[in-house]
């Protein structure tokens, strides 16, 4: 009589492959939406590299994360952030979501260390007790997932048009982060919750402080600190301004011949994570007045580039003075998405007299 082993061979669909496929898909989407060599593009590449290096290092939870109480506190914090994302609208996601996302990533990193990543470890790296623990954790996590996703989805979809709308909005905002968190990290959260206090040196030796581990620590530190530093640069670093003008063809008006110029100016606020505001316009003058040809309207006041910041236009005004001169003011507040208390005001101006003299630009 042959016996059928319950120990699995390595399955075709593993969490690593699913995550890798998801990362590749989302990564393509993100990369397609970013400009090559933008700070966000480079930072994303660095974070991906960090994730791969960190995953290759063995971890032990240490004294603090070995305590069940600490692990449960960590799970509660992660659960609260996950809930917060579920109720977050798209606009809130842009404003505060990135800071929470960083916090959630740190929480998941600590969770991986607290559970020694046994939820996703290869079968040959864990013993029978650990395998039983993670299987049980998956069963509990599955129940949580089925109830929280299935029930919410069903009720929200059939109840009222308002609840359907909420469902669509939440998935357009932070809801997708909540879903990913539940899909890929809830088993680890359950393991962290149910595992008893760990007795020192029972489950394995201390983490080997080899070179790869040190590099991993360094990369994680850098990945966490860099967005903060780049966000602070918004307040500290001076704005960089570049501008040029170029003659445009003349044309005839009822008042005579109008002369025109092309005006292009850019102001960069922040290093890496910041915004570039831009004036690009053609203005003309004919001796009696200066006037706009194009590019000096309210629809032209929008950020040219913004990375991990929100740029809010607070003034976009074009006026014609009694002396025939043209004034255009574009004032915007650039606020960090990671540190919302860090902001900078950027003002760009074009003052042009009726004789074509540029009084101020930008």
């Amino acid at each position: 009589m042959t016996t059928r082993s319950l120990r699995p061979s390595r399955p075709l669909i593993t969490i690593e492959r699913v995550v890798a496929a998801l990362v590749v898909l989302i990564g393509f989407g993100l990369l397609a939406s970013l400009q090559v060599f933008d700070a966000a593009f480079l930072y994303l590449l660095f974070v991906l590299a960090t994730a791969f290096v960190v995953r290759s290092v063995d971890v032990e939870p240490g004294a603090w994360l070995g305590l069940r109480l600490v692990r449960r506190a960590l799970v509660v914090v992660i659960a609260l952030i996950t809930l917060d994302f579920l109720t977050m609208r798209t606009t809130d996601f842009i404003n505060v979501g990135i800071a929470l996302l960083v916090l959630l990533a740190l929480g998941d990193l600590a969770l991986g260390r607290a559970t020694r990543r046994i939820a996703t470890a290869d079968a040959d790296r864990i013993d029978e007790r650990q395998e039983a623990l993670r299987n049980r954790a998956h069963r509990i996590a599955y129940a949580i997932l089925a109830i929280s996703v299935g029930l919410v989805l069903l009720i929200a979809d059939v109840a009222t048009p308002g609840t359907r709308r909420w469902l669509a909005d939440s998935l357009g905002g932070g809801g997708v982060v909540s879903l990913i968190q539940l899909l890929f990290f809830s088993p680890a959260m359950v393991i962290a919750w149910i595992e008893p206090d760990r007795i020192a040196d029972v489950d394995g030796s201390r983490m080997r402080r080899n070179l790869r581990a040190r590099i991993a620590y360094g990369m994680v530190t850098f990945a966490v600190v860099m967005p903060v530093l780049m966000s602070l640069s918004l307040a500290v670093a001076p704005s960089r301004v570049s501008a040029f003008t170029r003659p445009e063809p003349d044309f005839v008006t009822p008042n005579g011949t109008a002369h025109c110029s092309y005006f292009d100016a850019r102001t960069q606020a922040g290093i890496g994570f910041g915004a570039t505001t831009r004036i690009t316009a053609v203005a003309c003058w004919d001796g009696r007045s200066a006037f706009e040809e194009w590019g000096l309207n309210s629809s032209d006041c929008y950020p040219y580039r913004a990375e991990f910041v929100t740029a809010t236009t607070i003034e976009c005004r074009r006026t014609m003075e009694f002396d025939g001169s043209l004034h255009f003011t574009y004032r915007t507040v650039v606020r960090s998405a990671i540190l919302p208390f860090v902001s900078r005001e950027v003002v760009m101006t074009l003052n042009l007299t009726k004789d074509g003299k540029v009084v101020q630009f930008p």
Binding site: H138, Y142, L153, A159
Partner: protein, 326 residues
Amino acid sequence: MSAQQRVANAASTRPSTTRVFVFLVALGWLVVAAQFPYSLQGAGILIVLALIALSVVLGVRTGWLAFQSTSRLDERQATLRDRAYRIGFRLVGAGVLVMFVLYIVGVILQAIMLGPQSQATSDGFSARTVLAILELLAIAPTAVIAWLLPSDSEPANGPATRWLPLMAVPIVALAWIIAVLAAPLQTTVLATVPDNSFTMSAAKCGHFGAVKRVASGFGGAARLEAEVCWNGQQAFTYGDPSLPRPTSLPSEEFSRPLPGLTICAPLATDTDFGNVVERCTGQIDADGTLHLALRGQVSPLPGSVGAREVQIQLVVTRDGKLLAFN
């Protein structure tokens, strides 16, 4: 020998015929989950009932092991059940990923085959998507257990009782019929004014979208998308030559159909659970006010039995004031 006993006495590596049912469930799930630009043409409920029946068969053949409490299982059964949940968890992740990929493929195919589509009113998930996710969550661990089961032998005890869960099929069918016949229609309206994605010289424009659903979309839906512009003299639609054209503007500007702007037709997914017929009529009165009316019929049951009449009215004045939209 009961299904649970079969789990305990797993003694053969010969594939179980239960896997055929697993395959059929996977196939049915794919039909529901795929977001290709096709409609189930009102047959959605039949696929749902088939999936429920297949799920019950899987449940019976596995002794509903996935839903048994630990106290009723021996160590080996509990081990198999927990392992099935771990694999099932991964299947759910993979399933969501597959749905995402199918959605992307569907959008691309739709753009290639049908051209630019209307900016459909955002109204959450389609009924198919909801069903696909619920089915995935409900059946994944049971499907894994069924797949891992050894060659089958016919259970002996209490066949009548064991197959009682199949009653879920007529119960769901009855609940669906009651819902499509009696549940109030749900209406979603969305007005985007001004519409920054479309501009017209000497006129301002807004986009108006409305959907009326029968049984929360599980019985079909009628839909109107309209790009309405106004120039101070008249309000008018743009993109549907069958609707009245303004006399204050050159007629040839309105001769080209642009379904991406104005369309009086359901989306493919709106007709999954019911056949939908709809028609729009319009009028620009002497004051320049646009009156647009959609009249349609949603028939979830064959032969137009219990068909629901659907109406949507849109009235916009010549200066862009919205008088009615419901």
